[in-house]
Subunit: 507 residues, 2 copies
């Protein structure tokens, strides 16, 4: 299971008349016993430097070799190298997260993150695709995210005490649009029926081709995608959870802008995606926001007294509420009878309910307690959005399992990716009828699986092969044209569900 870049230390004989093989051929000959018959290429752009370094080092030192599966590439020669280091990148549409790995030990040497400055050209995927189609738009989006990535590369290098060009490889995990913009490819058809990416599985490209501030011959591995709504970040999720290697049937849920769900085991994989995300990501409720400082992640309401208790992520005064906080809150509102099973406020049920210009609203945190003096409130519009999101999520999950003919009870594990997985309380999500009523230990948060998948791809040739196998073997169900999904969605618009027998644990 070789890493994507390997070091091979050799000592070649000094040239003499009776052994006057050319420099590069001499180096290749010395590497022959270590390359087990795989073809070894050297790109023209590297020939001159490699030969000069080989001579400089008196024909002994360490060859830097890209392992591209069915072929190897000799790209550098170093007299006394440090460990081979590579960068993994979760290329999110709002947030980028990166790590630097020692490819030999697998150890994480550094960690960095930052905003995606493409936001200046469009807050969401759709607006960025529209911007990309304008003259010069694609180039600006491409360059914006490359600047971000180069910043992260420099941060990682600085933390590890390296020069950026000592970063020998990069693996990138992102959704299809982000991947297209990163590669300077037109994303126009991704968002228009019949939703066609320009490319799902780009071949290895190189640092120099993208003007990345890493080694010019560093291979750039792009996590492959399956289609417009199923990108490399999801393949990363499958890799990170190990879903494709399980004997039992498991499920992976990744909630971002969309909810993307994969069901399967080592024999088969099915996937679908749908618009269940925004409310849960904090994008719908006026006070909603992504997890961060001062953001409420957990809320409870004491039955009887109606006292609200809450936790912000870092304990600082509240500024807003994130997806997991909203789910907690709605579950509590339901359990205390402040909202009914349709998610509608019951006026008079609680002193925190008041009527304003936009109808009834519930005060989660009064202005006196918040960071900016403005009360954190939830109104009926917010509630309706969350109900739609939770109904969509449950409908997606049920549609997927029913397609395969398994029941939720047969699921061994449900892996929940990202910030959503890290912060959500499965108990509250079940109460709301968003997630199926299973033992809580079924739900396993797996953190930033997009980044983890990219790390795995850097570390192992088998993982890189698996990416492609997964991509080819997965069956994708298009919910946009699925009648059953629409029926299930309607049934799921109650708390917890029109069919209460599906949620025996909910009072």
């Amino acid at each position: 299971m070789p890493p994507i870049v390997k070091y091979i230390t050799i000592s070649a004989p000094i040239p003499k008349l009776s052994d006057n093989l050319a420099d590069i051929d001499r180096l290749k000959r010395a590497l022959l016993p270590e390359t087990s018959g795989q073809p070894l290429y050297i790109p023209l752009a590297q020939v001159s430097n490699v030969a000069a370094a080989f001579r400089q080092a008196k024909f002994s030192g360490t060859a830097v070799i890209n392992d591209l599966g069915e072929r190897l590439e000799l790209v550098d020669f170093v007299e006394n190298p440090g460990p081979p280091d590579a960068m993994a990148l979760d290329l999110g549409s709002t947030h980028l997260e990166a790590s630097l790995l020692d490819l030999r030990s697998g150890e994480t040497l550094a960690h960095a993150h930052g905003e995606n400055s493409q936001i200046a050209f469009g807050a969401d995927i759709l607006s960025r695709i529209h911007f990309a189609v304008r003259p010069g738009g694609l180039k600006r989006l491409h360059e914006a995210v490359l600047d971000n990535i180069n910043d992260l590369a420099r941060q990682l290098a600085r933390q590890a005490g390296l020069a950026p060009r000592e970063i020998r490889a990069l693996a990138v995990s992102g959704n299809p649009t982000m991947t297209h913009l990163f590669l300077n490819l037109n994303p126009d058809h991704i968002c228009r029926e019949p939703y066609i990416p320009l490319i799902n599985a780009p071949d290895i490209c190189y640092g120099r081709e993208l003007a990345l501030d890493i080694h010019p011959a560093a291979p750039v591995f792009i996590m492959p995608g399956v289609g417009s709504y199923f990108g490399g970040d999801l393949i990363s999720g499958i890799m990170a959870s190990g879903l494709d290697e399980q004997e039992q049937v498991c499920m992976l849920i990744d909630v971002g802008t969309n909810a993307e769900v994969v069901l399967g085991n080592r024999d088969w994989l099915m996937a679908c995606a749908g618009a269940a995300g925004p409310a849960l990501e904090g994008g719908v409720a006026r006070m909603g926001m992504r997890a961060g400082a001062g953001v409420i992640e957990h809320v409870n309401i004491t039955p009887g007294s109606g006292t609200v208790t809450y936790e912000t992520i870092d304990g600082s005064p509240a500024r807003g509420i994130c997806g997991s906080g909203i789910i907690d809150l709605m579950a509590a509102l339901y359990l205390t009878g402040i909202i009914d099973l349709r998610g509608k406020f019951r006026p008079g049920k609680d002193s925190r309910l008041r009527q304003g210009a936009e109808g009834w609203s519930y005060t989660v945190v009064p202005g006196e307690e918040t960071a900016d003096g403005r009360a954190i409130e939830l109104n009926q519009v917010d509630l309706d959005a969350v109900i739609r999101s939770k109904a969509a999520m449950y409908a997606i999950l049920t549609t997927l399992v029913s397609q395969v003919g398994v029941s939720f009870a047969e699921l061994d594990k449900i892996y929940v990716a990202g910030a959503f997985g890290r912060h959500i309380s499965p108990r509250q999500a079940i109460t709301l009828g968003m997630l199926p009523d299973l033992p809580l230990e079924t739900y396993v948060p797996i953190g930033n699986s997009s980044l983890r998948g990219a790390e795995k791809a850097l570390l192992s040739g088998r993982a890189r092969t698996r990416c492609q196998e997964i991509r080819r073997n997965i069956t994708y169900i298009e919910l946009n044209v699925n009648q059953e999904f629409m029926l299930r969605f309607s049934g799921a618009r109650f708390i917890p569900h029109t069919d209460r027998s599906l949620f025996p644990s909910v009072p």
Copy 2:
């Protein structure tokens, strides 16, 4: 035996919701039945254009595919292409010759040639290597020859009615120094003991990497070499003559700046090279020049009368004399007794002999008959140089056959490459003792085998594989350290030889 670029015409289904594969993946899927399982890559630099062209053509048309042996590269898509055309190049140190081939039919569509303008920086290989080492020198030499090649590419394209970027591939055949300068690689160690090229067998590179005025993704195949004195032009010679496929033992002689000789058959190949060339190429005699307009290629002297008859290459008034002319002349001078068996003038033997400041000289063509009014003469210094050259040549040939333990009589054919092979009279070369005394039909001129070899490499994958096999299997004998060669050289400094029994046909 696929050509280096092949066209595959496909018709892919139009994308729809139930078949919404990405553009590039759709194209690859359509190509699958035609690529017989070989891995198919697409370089990042081509992805955008290929996808756009594929859409533009409504998913039907012709894919342009580089065949790189163990892998294929998808580099273009064309709705209605002409035949796939490629350029072969003989990259000589003084002269460049190129042809444009239709890769499907093998037909030659155009032909062009020109001077190597690196001459401005150094007349011979050695002076160019010295120039290359000076600051900025390599870059100037590299750019000079690239300009020449781009001129030729444009000429070829114009003749064939194409745009230069419709040239889909290039194969280059040159000596090691020329190859290094073409690739912008330091040739410094080629000319210094122990004579080490930077690289013998460069991998495929691309038009765009060298700023060539052909298709940017055109593969550039470099004929591989064996060492500092055995370059891709010689491998081309072997390929063109078919030496490596003969059952009988044959020989290949290529005389340029050096004399390079290969001996062998389909089972084994031995080679050596030595400085036998300049006098024969016309570089030593003051009136000597390369074959061209007004250049004497054949001379005879009528015994008794001493009348000189001669032919210039195009019948125009004489300007100088080339290698084959000098060999004819010296053989005639010997047969008429004007020079002795040491190659020294015999004063008084002929009225054309006269003594000047530099000793005796012989008037080949009096000033009244020449193009510029200056007589064409040969003096003792010239004669001595030719004697050294012919002795070196014979010594090289005998050393090589004796290493293998065959006799000249066992040779089935002796292929003679280049201008030397085209113009030389084997009879006169035998009389002089330069070539072994074999039936004249043993000698087969093969023309510009450097260009022919490059053409073969473009047309056939088997030929490209053979190049590498030949390179790996050939045994190269270093004459610089060969005692036997020095002894044989001394013995060959008489006309025809100190051992006359070796030349029974010479009176």
